[in-house]
Amino acid sequence: MTSESKAPESTVVVQTKNLTKIYRDFWGRQKVRALKALDLDIRKGEVFGLLGPNGSGKTTTIKLLLGLLFPTSGSVTILGCPAGDVTKNERIGYLPEESYLYRFLNAEETLDFYGRLFPMSAAVRRQRVSQLISMVGLESARKRQLREYSKGMTRRIGLAQALINDPDLILLDEPTSGLDPIGTRNMKDLILELKAQGKTVIMSSHLLADVQDVCDRIGILYQGELKELGRVEDLLKINAETEIRAEGLSEEAKEKIRKIIAEDNSQLLYCDHPTSSLEDLFLNIISESEARPGKRVRGGGTD
C-alpha cells in the first residue's frame, strides 16, 4: 500500500493516513472504536465504494473526510486541503445518510438557499435550481414544503442539494436507501454519468448490487477495519476459487473438466450457475474475520 500512495498529488483526491476514530462520552471514556487506522487513496475520476454491514464505520469515514468529525489520530487530505478547511467545500457535494434538510422550505427554496452559500451568480443559481429539480424528477412538487415529502422524495432533493455547486468530488452516504427500483436505477445512472463527466464519487452502501454495478474500486469495512480494497473485477476473482461458466455444455464435457481438476489435485467446489459473487465475498470476509480478527488487506489492491 505505501508504495502506491506516492501517486502524483494531482490525481489523488482523497488521502487518509492512519485515520482512526474513537467515540468518547462526555467524560472522555471510550465508547466505540468506530474506525481503525484507515489508509486510503482515492484518485480523480474514480467511483469508490465503501462497503460494510451496519455499524462498520462507513458513515464515520465519510464524516471524517468532510471534517464533521475530528479524527482521534491520523490525518485526512481532501482536494489538497486538511479536512477542516472550509474552502475545499466549494468543490464538494455531500449527501448525508438521511437527508437533513429544512422542513419548512420547499424544494426550490432549499436549492436556492444552498446555492447562495456558493460563490455563483443569481442567474446561474436559478438555472441550476430548475435543472436539478427536473433531474431528480420533482417538478410537480417544487413548491411543496419538505415536511410533506415522502422519504424517497426527500432523498432526491437531498441529492439535488449535493450537486448544486457542480462539485468535483461527491460523497454519497447510502445514496440508494429509501429509493424505489426506478429511483435506484436512476441514481446508478447518475453516478455513472458523473463519472463520465470526470468527477470523483465516493459512496457507501451495504447493498452489494449498488456497488457492483457502478464502482471502480471498493473497500470493505468491517468493525472499523478495512478488510478488502481493490478493483471490483479483481475482488470478484477470488484467489482460491475458480468459476467456470459455459453454455450448452454436455454431460461428457463436464465429466472431462472434473477429471482435469482431479488430475491437478484440486477439488471441484461447484460447477453450476454462478450466484452474485460479491455477496459471497462479502459474507466470506465477515465470517473469516469473525474467526480470525485482524486486518486483512490484499496486496496490490489499489491498482
Binding site: K88, F113, L117, F118
Partner: protein, 629 residues
C-alpha cells in the same frame, strides 16, 4: 424624572468605556489563546503546538476577515423564513389582545395618563420582545444540530463566523420587524386612548360675563367649565378678541373655536394636546452651599434611605446651586424657561394646606452678583415651571455679592470684582450674570424648619419641544438595543448548549442584566455577610451577617476563596450588560422628555461592544465544536 445613571456626554464617556472594553477583550483574547493551546495539546500532543497554533490563528483571522456577505445574508434569510413559517407573528397578535384588555384596566382619568399608558406599552413590549428574542436565539442553532441540518451547512463553504453572524443578523431583523409592529400599535393605542374632547354649550357650561365697560381685547366676555370627559373638566374663559383660556389639567389643554351667530354661539373643543410631550431639557451640574457658606457636593441627609436627593434647610444660608454652561443667548433671547421637581421635607406639619415657599435666584459665578428672580410655592410631586426673564429689573438685584467659600482656598473669601451698579436701571441675564459661558441658578427655601431636596436632574432648562413620534421611536430603539444584546447572548449559548439549557442560560443573563447592581455588589463584596463562601458558612452555621468570622486558618481560606471568586464574578460582571442603564429610554418617554441623540449614541456603542465579543466567542466555540458528535 429621576435619573440615577446619567449618561455622560459621548466623547467624555467613550475613552473610559473603550479602555475598559479593550482591557476586557485583552483578557478574553489571552484566555482563548491559552484555551487554544490547551486544546491543541490535548488533541494532538505537545509536538508542533506552535505551528498548529499559527495555522489555527491564520484560519481564525481568515474566518473573521474573509466573511462573505452573500453567505451571511443567505443564513439570515433562512432564519427569517424559519421564524416566519413558525408563526412568530402570533406574538404580535398576543400583544394586540393584551392591549385590548389593557384598555379596560388602564385608567385614562388618572392624573398623568400619558405616563401610565406609555409605561404600560413600553414594559409590555419589552417583555414580549425580549422573551421572543430569548426563545428564538437560544433554540435556533440547537435545532439545527438536533435535526442535523447543520451537516448540510458546514459541508458547504460556510465559515463558522458566518453561521453565528447570520443568525444574529436574521434574528435581529425578525425581532425588529415585530418591534416595529408593536411600536406602531402602541402609538395608536396610546393616542386613541388618551384622545378626547369636551362639550361646551352656551348658557349650560359657559356663561357671559357682565361687561365691566372696558373694551380691551383681553377682557373676559364669558367664563365657565367644560363638561366632564376622561374624569376631568377644564376651566375656560373667552376673551373679547375671540381667543380662549383653557386651564391645563392632567398635563393637557384643548383649543376652542367659537362659531355661529352672536346670540347662539357654538363652541367646538379640539382634541387634547400636550399629553404626550418630548421636552428637550438642558441639565446643569449641581452643588450645595451649607449654612456657613461653604461649598458642598451634597446637601443634608434627612434620613431617607434613598440618598438620591439631598436637602437644604429653610431660612438659612443653605442653597442648591446649578451651574449651566450651555445656555446660548441667541436661543434664549427672551429669557430662560426653567422646570423643576423639588422634594419638600417638613419637620413640622404647620398648616398642611400651606405650601412651602422657595426662591429662585441667578448668580454670576465669578462676581457673585445675584438677582432674586421669583418666590414660588412648592408642591410635592408636581413639576414647577418658572421663567427667568432676559431683562432683570434693578429692584431684584442684590447689593452685596453672594459667596460660595471653598475650604483651603482663602482667595474666595475676598470680594470678587463685584459689579453692582446703582445707576443701572435694568440688568441683562447673559451680559451681567453669565461669566465664561456659565450661569448659576440658586434655589433656597424660605420657610424655617422646612427642607428642600433635589438631585442634579431635578432642575433643568426647558429648551424646546422635540417631535413626539420620533421620540416614541427612539424609546423603542432602547428596547431594540436590549433585544440585540440578548440575541447575541442566546446565539452564543446555543453554539455549545442544547436548546433548553441555552434558553435557561440566556434567561439567567436576562435576569442578571436586570439586577446587575445586586450582582456587582456580591462581586465586589459590598453585601453584608461577605462573599459566596463566607455567606455559605454563615448560612450553615446560622450565624448573623454582621459579626466577624473567628480568626482561624479556615476563615482566611474562606476569605481568600471569596477574593478569587469575587474577582471572577467582577470580570463576569463586565460581560453582563446592565439593562437598568436602558431605563433612561422608557423613563424619558413616559415622563415626556426627549431622548437625546447622545443617549442613543452611547447605548449604540454599548450594544456593539457587547455584540462583537459575544460573536467572537460564539464563533470560536462553534469552530472547535465537533459537528457530528
Amino acid at each position: 424624572m429621576v435619573i440615577e445613571h446619567p449618561v455622560l456626554p459621548f466623547l467624555q464617556w467613550l475613552p473610559r468605556a473603550a479602555g475598559i472594553w479593550v482591557g476586557a477583550l485583552a483578557v478574553l483574547i489571552i484566555v482563548s489563546m491559552l484555551v487554544g493551546f490547551g486544546f491543541i495539546i490535548l488533541r494532538n500532543g505537545p509536538s508542533g503546538v506552535f505551528s498548529r497554533f499559527w495555522t489555527g490563528l491564520k484560519n481564525g483571522l481568515a474566518d473573521m476577515f474573509q466573511m462573505s456577505w452573500q453567505r451571511i445574508w443567505a443564513i439570515a434569510r433562512l432564519i427569517m423564513k424559519e421564524s416566519i413559517r413558525k408563526k412568530v407573528i402570533v406574538v404580535c397578535a398576543v400583544f394586540l389582545v393584551i392591549l385590548m384588555f389593557a384598555g379596560w384596566f388602564l385608567d385614562p382619568e388618572s392624573t398623568d395618563p400619558a405616563r401610565l399608558y406609555l409605561s404600560f406599552v413600553l414594559s409590555t413590549t419589552s417583555y414580549l420582545v425580549l422573551l421572543l428574542a430569548l426563545f428564538l436565539s437560544a433554540l435556533s442553532l440547537p435545532a439545527d444540530f438536533k435535526n442535523k441540518t447543520i451537516f448540510t451547512i458546514v459541508t458547504k463553504p460556510v465559515r463558522p463566523s458566518e453561521i453565528v453572524l447570520g443568525r444574529i443578523l436574521g434574528l435581529t431583523i425578525i425581532g425588529s420587524g415585530i418591534l416595529v409592529i408593536m411600536a406602531i400599535a402602541s402609538y395608536f393605542f396610546v393616542s386613541f386612548s388618551l384622545s378626547h374632547t369636551h362639550v361646551v354649550i352656551q348658557n349650560e357650561d359657559i356663561f357671559p360675563v357682565a361687561s365691566s365697560g372696558t373694551t380691551s381685547s383681553n377682557a373676559v366676555i364669558a367664563a365657565g367649565e367644560t363638561r366632564l370627559a376622561n374624569g376631568h373638566k377644564h376651566k375656560i374663559e373667552e376673551y373679547a378678541d375671540g381667543s380662549f383660556f383653557v386651564q391645563e389639567v392632567n398635563n393637557h389643554t384643548h383649543s376652542i373655536v367659537r362659531s355661529g351667530d352672536a346670540d347662539d354661539p357654538k363652541y367646538t373643543v379640539s382634541n387634547e394636546h400636550g399629553t404626550i410631550q418630548a421636552k428637550v431639557p438642558l441639565y446643569g451640574s449641581i452643588r450645595f452651599r451649607n449654612a456657613t457658606e461653604f461649598e458642598r457636593t451634597a446637601g443634608i441627609n434627612v434620613g431617607e434611605e434613598w440618598d438620591y436627593r439631598t436637602y437644604i434647610e429653610g431660612a438659612s444660608s443653605e442653597a442648591i446651586i446649578w451651574t449651566f454652561e450651555n445656555l446660548n443667548p441667541k436661543r434664549f433671547s427672551d429669557g430662560v424657561p426653567i422646570e423643576m421637581n423639588i422634594s419638600v421635607y417638613r419637620t413640622h406639619k404647620g398648616n398642611i394646606e400651606k405650601t412651602i415657599m422657595g426662591a429662585l435666584l441667578v448668580r454670576n459665578p465669578r462676581t457673585g452678583l445675584t438677582a432674586a428672580i421669583e418666590n414660588f410655592n412648592s408642591e410635592k410631586y408636581t413639576t414647577k415651571a418658572l421663567f427667568i426673564p432676559r431683562t432683570i429689573d434693578r429692584s431684584k438685584v442684590e447689593r452685596t455679592p453672594r459667596l460660595v467659600k471653598i475650604y483651603g482656598e482663602e482667595s474666595t473669601y475676598s470680594r470678587p470684582d463685584f459689579s453692582y451698579d446703582p445707576e443701572k436701571e435694568t440688568y441683562d441675564l447673559f451680559e451681567d450674570f453669565m461669566d465664561d459661558g456659565k450661569i448659576e441658578i440658586w434655589l433656597t427655601c424660605l420657610d424655617s424648619g422646612q427642607y428642600f431636596g433635589a438631585a442634579e436632574h431635578d432642575l433643568y432648562v426647558y429648551a424646546r419641544n422635540a417631535n413626539v413620534f420620533v421620540n416614541f421611536l427612539k424609546g423603542y430603539f432602547g428596547i431594540w438595543q436590549e433585544m440585540v444584546i440578548l440575541i447575541s447572548f442566546g446565539v452564543l449559548f446555543s453554539t455549545f448548549l442544547s436548546g433548553p439549557v441555552a434558553m435557561v442560560s440566556t434567561f439567567g443573563v436576562l435576569i442578571a442584566a436586570f439586577c446587575k447592581e445586586l450582582f456587582m455588589q456580591i462581586a465586589t463584596g459590598q453585601t453584608l455577610g461577605g462573599g459566596l463562601a463566607e455567606s455559605m458558612v454563615r448560612l450553615v452555621n446560622h450565624e448573623n451577617m454582621m459579626s466577624d468570622l473567628p480568626n482561624t486558618v479556615a476563615s482566611s481560606l474562606i476569605k481568600f476563596f471569596d477574593m478569587i471568586t469575587s474577582g471572577f464574578l467582577l470580570y463576569l460582571g463586565l460581560a453582563i450588560p446592565s439593562f437598568a442603564d436602558f431605563d433612561i429610554y422608557s423613563n424619558s418617554l413616559a415622563s415626556g422628555f426627549d431622548i437625546s441623540w447622545n443617549t442613543i449614541a452611547v447605548h449604540a456603542v454599548r450594544t456593539i461592544s457587547y455584540v462583537v465579543p459575544l460573536f467572537i466567542v460564539g464563533y470560536l466555540i462553534l469552530r472547535n465544536r465537533e459537528v457530528a458528535k
